[in-house]
Symmetry: C2
């Protein structure tokens, strides 16, 4: 008799407000026997915190602790260990729910688990609300309409790459702002886009705030974003 | 005695599967005394269909019927009428929940209501799962990782605009494919991107399907999308 393998669910939790979790994600987490999630450098896990009210007592938890370094090898080792622990459950027929901030496939770490496990086990991805639309909602700005285009750029890109893409885009979203804020602000100002640039911090969380980019703090948190909309008549 | 005005909620419903509605959106719809939604040319409303199981008996419904034309004036008239009907409730202190496919501010029609009502009434936007991440989930492809960029393009753009942006993008998502499919496929082939291009139709709905773009039907439905990922090592 062969045992049917468990399914690995990659579940998007949205931008941080537990209320922005989808009904499907909530049901999967509530019913999970085993969950898995990343944490950073021995600290708390943001993903686990978002889902906390849905995790039943007695649920087994697999924690993947990622070191605070840009070197990829230690993180790869953490995902190797996590994937092995997850596989132990899947091979016995138990499903595992991997908790992912935002959407699992949009700048998410779930791809590292998918890469390690999808050849041997069934995997299902449950999409989530991204921080991009959460920021637009908080700023009350339409992101794109009709035939406009939108480009998402990570702040750590170099100046030349950022500048080229800033020029080509209609709506522009800069993620992973953090310590790059002063440089990003200078680049946008040089392109004549500072007037239209909005800074959004921790969208959907209690400490959320929105400011003109011109007034934003030089030291921005990692969960901050810049939004530049320039549709001809976005509100009409 | 002054009456407190009602709030207009613009509520994202996600890509089509009612299970991808967020907990916040579900609660607002279940508790709504008045809902509003667009429908197309006298036909059914896709937004209403997604939310159907949450709409309580007796809920008042404001339907904005949009004509099937690219001329903007008749649609503007439909939103004018809808906004006036919504305002009648808001001014009496009753909240109105506007149902929006996907996310209200991502190629959504909610901006037309926001433009007409946000100066006089409180408005809150509840972000939703977009079809972009739903398509990636179905195709099981990471959209973007690390410092990659992503650009979303509407298929109706002209060849030159599409070509420039196809060349500049890392990950590329083409929305509103419909009858433009053969032209989009030819453009992607000319750029050497056909091998990496995936066609996704009706993601999250029962009739969903994924195909290599090379095998996609020439006559695609409106709710179809092309996904091109070209990260150097997306799975590692």
């Amino acid at each position: 008799m062969t045992l049917r393998a468990g399914t690995l669910y990659g579940v998007g939790l949205g931008p941080g407000d537990p209320d922005l979790i989808t009904r499907k994600a909530a049901r999967l987490i509530e019913g999970a026997q085993v969950i898995a999630y990343p944490s950073l450098a021995g600290g708390d896990s943001f993903a686990r915190a978002i889902a906390a009210d849905l995790i039943a007592p007695g649920t087994q938890e697999i924690r993947m602790d990622l070191p605070m370094t840009t070197d990829r090898a230690p993180a790869q080792a953490a995902y190797d260990q996590g994937a092995a622990a997850i596989a132990d459950h899947l091979k016995r027929g138990t499903d595992v729910v991997a908790l992912c901030e935002g959407d699992p496939l949009f700048y998410g770490s779930f791809m590292y688990l998918h890469a390690r496990l999808s050849a041997q086990y069934p995997v299902e991805v449950v999409p989530g609300v991204t921080s991009v639309t959460a920021c637009a909602a908080l700023a009350a700005r339409p992101l794109v309409a009709r035939n406009e285009t939108i480009t998402v750029l990570p702040g750590p890109l170099d100046d030349a790459a950022l500048r080229d893409r800033m020029r080509a885009a209609d709506t522009l979203v800069v993620m992973k702002v953090g310590r790059h804020l002063p440089r990003l602000r200078a680049l946008l100002a040089a392109e004549g886009l500072l007037d239209r640039a909005i800074y959004v911090e921790r969208a959907s969380l209690p400490a959320q705030r929105v400011l003109p980019l011109a007034d934003a703090p030089d030291a921005a948190p990692y969960f901050s974003m810049i939004l530049v909309t320039r549709g001809a008549d976005p509100w009409l």
